[in-house]
């Protein structure tokens, strides 16, 4: 087939998406071939089928999906597109799986500049290529002005799990160590700073990153000694540990002084009335690791560029109330609650 035969000139500099680009007609074909295929270009999309095929070996696969509604669409350290690719890769990787393929569904508000859409699609393509995964399926819908907010992206990822791994949030055990791969709160603070025009001398940049290569070195070091991995996105470390506590029916005790938080993030959180442990991360992970393996896994994390600030921040304890508690830097102890509602809307 010839993609070229669909192409008319898209005005990528000054044009905007209109309803015709979601119609199933020529305008949509033009947008797909002229913008998305350019950005993601691979053999699967070039076949222009409604589905893409790939060969798999026998084994265990994982599937995950996430919607992205971050506002604003562009923020320090990334945009909704790179975030969607990284976030979905990370959800695949948290099972110990190697991510293989992604799909992306775009819901676009009429009026979105092509230049924004192109920048976002280009950064998705770059993020995918850099991670060694392929965006093999996509869909585009356009809704009327005022019926969406620029752009929403839903991505789905699939990957293949190494033999013998079976990580799950219900597998933490009393005595396990709690490891984090680096400083907390960077993503949420970067987005909030941009949204609220809070400017500091040190700009906070989102930590948005694909973690599957970090996971691979952790699995190599810790194997089945790694019980649970999670990326602490919405709700931050607090929500993640409360979820694991509920699912594994135990508690956690953390040392506040051990939890890495960048000074600029801490300062912004103080200004905005936030607690970094409730703030979303997009390039960090939490691992619950059997005590005998924790040092080896931590050493492997520290040796990787995305884990250089990794830390052991506490342990799993017997607690039928399933509380996450924290020994504060001032010598006290407090319960790290799981918030009921919304602290930071539309952070991812």
């Amino acid at each position: 087939m010839s993609v070229k035969s669909y192409q008319r000139k898209l005005d990528l500099e000054n044009g905007r998406v209109d309803l015709s680009h979601g119609s199933g007609g020529r305008a949509m074909a033009q947008l797909i071939s002229g913008l998305f295929h350019q950005a993601f270009g691979n053999e699967w999309l070039a076949r222009c089928n409604d589905q893409s095929a790939f060969d798999v070996a026998a084994g265990r696969m994982v599937m995950t999906t996430d919607g992205y509604v971050v506002s604003p669409l562009f923020f320090p350290g990334g945009n909704i597109g790179s975030l969607a690719v990284h976030g979905t890769i990370n959800d695949v990787a948290m099972s110990g799986a190697r991510p293989l393929y992604l799909s992306a569904s775009f819901i676009i508000e009429e009026g979105l500049p092509f230049s924004d859409l192109k920048a976002i699609a280009d950064s998705m393509g770059a993020a995918a290529r850099s991670a060694g995964v392929y965006i093999i399926a996509g869909d585009t819908k356009v809704v009327e002005r005022g019926k969406a907010d620029g752009l929403f992206i839903s991505t789905t990822g699939i990957g293949i799990v190494a033999d013998g791994l079976d990580l799950s949030a219900d597998k933490a055990m009393v005595g396990d160590r709690v490891l984090v791969s680096g400083s907390l709160g960077d993503h949420g603070v970067a987005v909030m700073s941009k949204r609220q025009n809070v400017a500091f001398q040190t700009e906070v940049v989102s930590d948005s990153a694909a973690l599957h290569k970090l996971v691979a070195v952790m699995v190599a070091a810790g194997g089945s000694g790694i019980r649970v991995m999670r990326d602490p996105t919405r709700g931050g470390l607090a929500a993640t540990l409360n979820e694991i506590a509920h699912q594994s029916e135990l508690g956690f005790r953390l040392q506040e002084a051990s939890i890495p938080v960048k000074p600029a993030v801490a300062a912004t959180c103080e200004l905005l009335g936030l607690d970094p442990i409730h703030v979303a991360n997009e390039g960090k992970l939490v691992a619950i690791v059997a005590p005998d393996f924790a040092d080896a896994v931590l050493a492997a994390m520290k040796a990787h560029p995305l884990g250089s600030d990794a830390a052991d921040i506490g342990e799993a304890v017997a607690d039928n109330r399933k509380f996450v508690q924290m020994a504060t830097s001032f010598g006290g102890r407090r319960i790290v609650d799981w918030l009921w509602g919304e602290q930071l809307p539309r952070i991812c």
Copy 2:
């Protein structure tokens, strides 16, 4: 783990979604366990991980994704939820694959009644169970009032292709027959009638349905004699055949008199100024079949409840202009154009 421990009482009758339900906090957990898990309930979701795992045999898989923005959310014959499940199953099935697993990403506008969301989720669960597929991964985001339009759903499907099948839109050959599985335009007309409050004596009902079982009997009858299958959704039969014509570099000649259209659909189309061959279907397929296999495939279709009105409507012809032409019922001939823009916005 205990899903119950998350549950507070959701007011499913009178309550509404608010921003807290997309926060990653307790309110979101409550919505997920109290509404989505109830509707989709299966062993994967019960584990509450950010991804779900399943075993696969070695083979060829397919992946597809679609966003659903249909307005209104409820229409005669279905709603956005059943439509999303059927549509994604169908995109998987059009490769000849057996659908296995789905994911669903929900982007919800603040204020959506829980009762609507529950009805939609329940019909997704019912559609999936009836089709023998599982919704194993999901995500929920909530955006502020006025930043979306009730509910958008993006679904992704994966399936496994039978050995030896390799359907693709670039495989049509001159002389192939064009088969459709039944009457055209039902879905689009049902949605438009509801939207515009057009009422006839005979209500037009969406044809939304999962076609994978119909596909299975077609593959059993026609095997690799089936070159291409497509479900003619947005843009209808006209867009589908124009796409295949471009990708296979040939033309089509159709017989208008052979194309099944229900009288009520034809009447509504005339009233609204639409042509049924441009109108979306959600439970129909087009198959391009080698001439020696066409009769057997058509017979298999007619013997299936979802193909009882199947018809042979024309053939693939050599045409370097890649035109889709139609011999009209009045003895003339016209070119079936591929529309540039939007005839029926937000029909799926």
